[in-house]
């Protein structure tokens, strides 16, 4: 089963525009939106939700204050500044007293306080991270998610979306197309590991170029085949050339260039992939798809398997 992820390093370069277009051109693939913190693909892929489940991927520490002796060990061992003193009302005690308080937004669920507490007053409690959905579209099934407000663990939610997509892809013998998020940290790492191919969508600006260089180091670190698309390449032809030169120097191929095209925001506003329209950007994306789609459809012999 093949998996391809579209990422960008820098945000707003056009990942979702490209992903939606590919989903439509491929017709039958499992599509996964792994930008769980700011998901947009569902806005341009007409879908209806078939399955929905809550994902509980986190644990945070909670103190049973009636067992707490206020020794201060938890605050001492916590390296995430999640424990502080706070005036709280405690069951069985009159009035309000100062007791340790664990800020769940800061708690990383490492259990240091759980083990350090001499009275076993602290426990790790599961915490809901968000919701995962499996939806039906006319171009194949679509896995996506909604991260709960201020919930921790977006990397784990991404892994869950990918698991859902992968299981569907296995059953249906299809490939997986992933729309990723900006950045190079845990969420992006969770998005690309185990993929056969990464496509990086960049733009011709100094920021785009800088972020591309960092993202290429990331995919090289994980040894994943990587190709680059320059979006809105004609906004700055010189920087586009600089990006092409930098790519050829590091042995990464630029698989295509998409021109600036006012039809792109219009298509988004109408809620359709750009490939529904006859426009310069749509033509460029079709050409790119023709070049890269064989990666996803060729026989699965010698594929890398998940561990």
């Amino acid at each position: 089963m093949k998996q391809m992820a579209i990422i960008s390093g820098k945000g707003g370069t056009g990942k979702t525009t490209v992903a939606a277009a590919f989903a439509e051109l491929a017709e039958q693939m499992i599509v996964a939106d792994c930008d769980v913190e700011a998901p947009n693909l569902h806005l341009v892929l007409a879908h209806h939700v078939k399955k929905e489940a809550e994902y509980v991927g986190n644990q945070t520490a909670r103190i049973n204050l009636s067992h707490c002796t206020h020794c201060g060990r938890c605050e001492e061992v916590c390296r995430y500044d999640a424990v502080s003193e706070k005036v709280q009302a405690v069951e069985g005690l009159q009035g309000e007293t100062v007791f340790p308080y664990i800020d769940s937004k800061r708690c990383e669920g490492c259990a240091a306080c759980v083990y350090a507490c001499p009275t076993q007053a602290i426990q790790l409690c599961p915490e809901a991270t968000g919701k995962v959905f499996l939806s039906e579209t006319n171009v194949g099934d679509f896995a996506h998610a909604e991260l709960y407000l201020a919930a921790d663990g977006s990397g784990k939610l991404v892994a869950e979306v990918r698991r859902l997509a992968r299981d569907e892809a296995r059953c249906q013998n299809k490939a997986v197309l992933i729309d990723g998020s900006p950045g190079i940290g845990c969420v992006v790492i969770s998005t690309i590991t185990g993929c056969q191919q990464v496509l990086v969508v960049t733009e011709p600006s100094q920021s785009g170029k800088h972020d591309l260089e960092r993202v290429l180091k990331l995919t090289a670190h994980f040894r994943i085949a990587t190709q680059v698309i320059i979006n809105k390449w004609d906004i700055n032809i010189e920087v586009s050339q600089e990006i092409e030169d930098a790519c050829s120097q590091s042995g990464v191929s630029v698989v295509g260039k998409i021109p600036f095209d006012p039809m792109v925001p219009k298509a988004i506003a109408l809620g359709y992939p750009i490939t529904r329209y006859e426009s310069p950007a749509a033509r460029a994306i079709r050409e790119i798809w023709a070049k890269i789609s064989p990666v996803l459809t060729e026989s699965s012999g010698g594929q890398q398997l998940s561990s």
């Binding site: 990397g155 892994a159 845990c186 790492i189 185990g194 994980f222 398997l305 998940s306 561990s307």
Partner: protein
């Protein structure tokens, strides 16, 4: 020999799961008599928060497994499996558990010496 195989279902007619750290179940059995010794256990690493391959490999050591059959092992899982001196063999997903055991006995399975794709970041 005590064998463990990663699997998607409980039954010797069920298929090998090519995922090691993230498979739903493991079957444990004696290679000489799989039918009457097979035990199916939930993969304890599945509930963990990342490092599933490491946790599953450590579980193999705790279960005193002598031979492991799975799809492939990530670099971390392989390091633990090697550390525990458990030989691991690769079987394809279209093999049933009994077919995989038979193939191993007949020496048709290849030993895993190199790591497959890493799955770091699932944390």
């Amino acid at each position: 020999m005590r064998i463990a195989i990663s699997t998607g279902g409980c039954g010797l007619d069920k298929f090998v799961d090519d995922r090691f750290g993230r498979c739903p179940y493991f079957v444990f059995c004696d290679s000489e008599d799989p039918q009457s010794t097979a035990e199916y256990k939930d993969n304890p690493a599945l509930s963990g928060t990342g490092g599933a391959g490491i946790a599953a490999a450590e579980y193999m050591a705790k279960e005193k497994v002598e031979v492991l059959i799975t799809g492939s092992l990530g670099p971390n899982a392989l390091r633990v499996i090697n550390g525990a001196n458990i030989p691991a063999y690769t079987a394809s997903e279209d093999m049933t558990l009994s077919e995989a055991i038979l193939a191993w006995k007949e020496g048709r399975l290849i030993q895993i010496t190199e790591a497959g794709a890493a799955h770091a970041g699932e944390r």
